[in-house]
């Protein structure tokens, strides 16, 4: 592909993702899709568009890129916006440039803290430590409730409260003495069930795949936003599964709040808030995280959301409709 074709590909990938994401979000709301697992299915449809469908359209239908298709058959052609220019560059070119910068910014917003976190040496993990017995017992109970084999428990003595799962080939749950001290028995069981639900769904592997998709589509802001939405859905799905397994949704909500309060603001380097960009971003990011936790707790206070009927049929119809529509968008 020459440079022009790459620009057309990037433009279509960005525009198709935006249209697919907006259509999917409208359908999710209008159809009342509240179950997080079903929402993930719809959002994966929008995410798969730039990764699979747009390359397939480029390879299978090269005629879509011809001027005749653009001028006579397309219902929208981005290149028509190049008829209007600013500083000698067509508006379509400006749009692709601005969107790519936004996509890169959103990607770096998560990549940089992740790379920084990898450089921080974690506290030593102590397998079979005496203080870990309550956590091991709670983990076994939670695994039994979920009907899966209990994974290994990595124990961290002291430090801030931590409770998360990790590992794609060798999955395990990591927790610390301070987390066990912070949570009561029911909250600990529910929080561990939440992490086990992640492992049951192979979410650590999924998160690597999603990070790969983000890296591949670094220029696409729609992909960056969609992956974040899917990650939130994964949390909600694990919440629902844990609530179902433990039978105590309130304990999970309570544990979630306690852990959030105990860990909020942790990990900020000294002086990070004084740097202009990080100071400007810290507040909205913290607010967004707090909003996420609030939404999860609100969802756990209510009954489990009912699945929408004919979900697969709706998904297939949405995919077919989007396919037909976006074929004529170049």
């Amino acid at each position: 592909m020459n440079g022009q074709r790459w620009i057309d590909f990037a433009g279509q990938a960005i525009f198709h993702t935006l249209v697919a994401a907006l259509v999917v979000e409208a359908l999710v709301r209008l159809w009342g899709v509240r179950q997080p697992e079903q929402r993930t299915g719809f959002r994966l449809l929008a995410l798969g568009w730039p990764l699979l469908v747009v390359p397939a359209l480029f390879l299978a239908f090269p005629g879509r890129e011809e001027e005749s298709f653009r001028d006579a058959r397309a219902i929208f052609a981005g290149r028509h916006w190049d008829d209007l220019a600013f500083l000698g560059i067509g508006l379509y070119g400006w749009w692709i440039g601005i969107m790519s910068a936004a996509g890169l910014g959103l990607f770096l917003l998560d990549l940089v803290p992740w790379l920084r976190a990898r450089n921080v040496r974690p506290p030593p993990w102590i397998p079979g430590a005496p203080g870990s017995r309550p956590a091991e017992e709670a983990l076994s109970r939670a695994a039994a409730a979920l009907g899966i084999a209990p994974p290994g428990l990595a124990w961290v003595e002291g430090g801030p409260p931590v409770l998360f799962c990790t590992g794609t080939r060798n999955p395990r749950v990591v927790t610390s003495s301070s987390a066990v001290e912070l949570l009561d028995r029911d909250e600990l069981a529910a929080a561990l069930a939440h992490e086990l639900a992640h492992l049951e769904r192979r979410d650590p592997t999924l998160s690597w795949a999603l990070m790969g998709a983000r890296a591949l589509m670094w220029f696409n802001p729609g992909v960056q936003v969609l992956v974040r939405a899917i990650a939130r859905d994964a949390e909600r799905t694990a919440d629902e599964r844990a609530g179902q397994a433990c039978g105590d949704r309130l304990a999970l909500a309570s544990g979630l709040l306690k852990l959030y309060r105990a860990t909020e603001g942790r990990g900020r380097g000294a002086g990070a808030g004084s740097r202009p960009l990080s100071a400007a971003l810290a507040e909205p990011i913290a607010r967004a995280r707090a909003h996420d936790i609030e939404l999860r707790c609100r969802a756990l206070l209510g009954p489990p959301p009912a699945p929408v009927p004919l979900a697969r049929l709706r998904l297939a119809a949405a995919a077919a409709g989007l396919g037909l529509l976006l074929f004529f968008v170049v």
Partner: protein, 191 residues
């Protein structure tokens, strides 16, 4: 489960499916309308009629309509090359219009032509002006020479003729002699 219950459940599923499809149709329909409007916006902002597109160069227009544009070999010094505006439409088999500026920077000449067929050149491409005088011209049987008046009140000379299965229009502010000479030079005639 009784037959009535099964029938009720089936009916409910069918109506649920129909409602879902109706919602999908509405969302996709709304999206289509929004996309069509977004696509038409650059043309609208330019004040160009529907179906008329701009091209960066004559070559760009030729590539997009997949046909050669016939140009005059005689080009007076009072005109600036390249054309200031290249517009084309696919309507009616395809037509192109080139606008040339004079040395004073104002539009001085419009050359429009169909690229397939001798049908009329769409008015939206070159802007139909009020004819105040008309007579036959020495360019062929159907050639017409007119005096037309623009919206700003300026008078232009306009030649319209058909040759080689194409319809041509040449409109200029300059001398009539130059206009006829340019028209002839399009077809390789010297005078």
């Amino acid at each position: 489960m009784t037959a009535a219950t099964v029938a009720g459940a089936t009916g409910s599923t069918v109506s649920e499916g129909a409602r879902a499809l109706w919602t999908l149709a509405l969302v996709l329909g709304g999206t289509t309308v929004a996309l069509v409007a977004l696509d038409a916006m650059p043309t609208w902002l330019h004040g160009q009629p529907r179906g008329v597109r701009r091209a960066a160069t004559v070559e760009d227009a030729e590539r997009r309509i997949q046909s050669r544009v016939l140009l005059p070999s005689y080009f007076p010094d009072t005109l600036r090359w390249p054309p200031a505006e290249v517009r084309f439409t696919r309507d009616g088999g395809g037509s192109v219009a080139l606008t040339f500026l004079g040395t004073d920077g104002a539009p001085d000449l419009v050359l429009a032509q169909t690229v397939a067929g001798a049908g009329p050149i769409p008015d939206g491409l070159h802007g139909r002006l009020a004819v105040i005088q008309q007579q036959s011209a020495p360019l062929g049987d159907d050639a017409v020479l007119s005096r037309v008046v623009a919206e700003d009140g300026t008078l232009w000379s306009q030649l319209e003729w058909t040759r080689g299965g194409r319809r041509f229009l040449l409109r200029g502010r300059g001398s009539l002699e130059n206009l006829i000479r340019m028209a002839r030079s399009i077809h390789g005639e010297r005078r």
